[in-house]
């Protein structure tokens, strides 16, 4: 467990790694911009996290401040890559398995996908639809990522 003191918008705040994880447990990530932070296996916009933890308006701080605090707390922070990973000729499929790799962490959950990117993942289809509506987003496809072989193969053998 880590604790970090930080001053944002001339106010002093104390952050706690465990508390961040607890507060985000039932929160769906908002659409990602350039930056993200990984909390409990999910990517969040850093400003969403800091805003939630402090109650501050997002205009009161910038992404770099948010990233720095979350990084000091021990969370992985990153910048999204627009580049397509190099294809591996040894793997099958239109994306050489890259799409399956991106979806694997969401097994058993409902996702909305744009391109290969997962916009949102939730435990129910209703939660996914509500998120798309709330954030005025359109997906290319929505489905449940298979949690086992039966869900993936349906009627036909694999």
């Amino acid at each position: 467990m880590s604790q970090v003191q930080a001053t944002i918008a001339q106010q002093q705040f104390a952050f706690d790694t465990t508390e961040v994880g607890r507060r985000l447990r039932d929160v769906l990530p908002e659409p990602l911009g350039e930056h993200y932070v990984v909390v409990a296996g999910r990517r969040f916009p850093p400003k969403q996290v800091i805003s939630l933890m402090t109650g501050l308006d997002r205009a009161d701080f910038n992404s770099h401040q948010a990233r720095r605090i979350l990084s000091r707390l021990g969370f992985t922070v990153g910048r999204r890559s627009r580049a397509t990973p190099p294809a591996s000729p040894a793997r099958r499929g239109p994306h050489q398995g890259h799409e399956a790799d991106l979806l694997r962490p969401f097994a058993g959950r409902w996702v909305a996908q744009r391109g290969l990117e997962v916009l949102v993942a939730a435990d129910t289809p209703q939660a996914v639809l509500a998120w798309l509506e709330r954030h005025n987003q359109h997906a290319d496809a929505m489905f449940r990522v298979p949690g086992d072989q039966t869900e993936a193969t349906g009627l036909a053998p694999a």
Partner: protein, 131 residues
């Protein structure tokens, strides 16, 4: 219209499925992933789609059927579906429970309206509306 096969993760490796995103009238923000099931007579969708799309299933024809190792209750409604730029009115059986990752497009509600070429060697579908 061309669609790439869908790569779905499995317990070991991954599965390549001929599936396409179909927009159900009333759920424009989230096209539903549907498997092209040449062996299916009818379109079979999860029942939650009817709820989300505002499709009234009260008094609808109902049947119980076995699909892929499970038994489900299916209710029939006519809904507007869109694939790419093509929209058609289709009978859909809405099923509960529905444990599959995707919905199913069958002969009556899909294949009779489209010319479908499955190019499995290159993981691609070519789909055009029937003239």
């Amino acid at each position: 219209m061309r669609f790439a096969f869908k790569e779905l993760p499995g317990t070991s490796g991954y599965y390549l499925r001929p599936a396409v995103p179909v927009t159900v009238e009333g759920i424009a923000r989230a096209p539903q992933l549907c498997l092209l099931d040449t062996g299916a007579l009818h379109n079979r969708f999860a029942a939650w789609v009817a709820d989300a799309a505002g499709v009234d299933l009260t008094g609808a024809d109902e049947e119980r059927l076995a699909v892929g190792g499970f038994v489900t209750a299916a209710r029939l409604a006519s809904v507007q579906l869109t694939l790419g730029e093509v929209t058609w009115e289709s009978p859909v059986w809405f099923c509960d429970p529905w444990p599959l990752a995707f919905h199913l497009l069958g002969q009556e509600g899909f294949f009779r309206w489209f010319d479908v070429r499955v190019r499995a060697a290159v993981y691609e579908l070519e789909i055009e509306p029937e003239a």
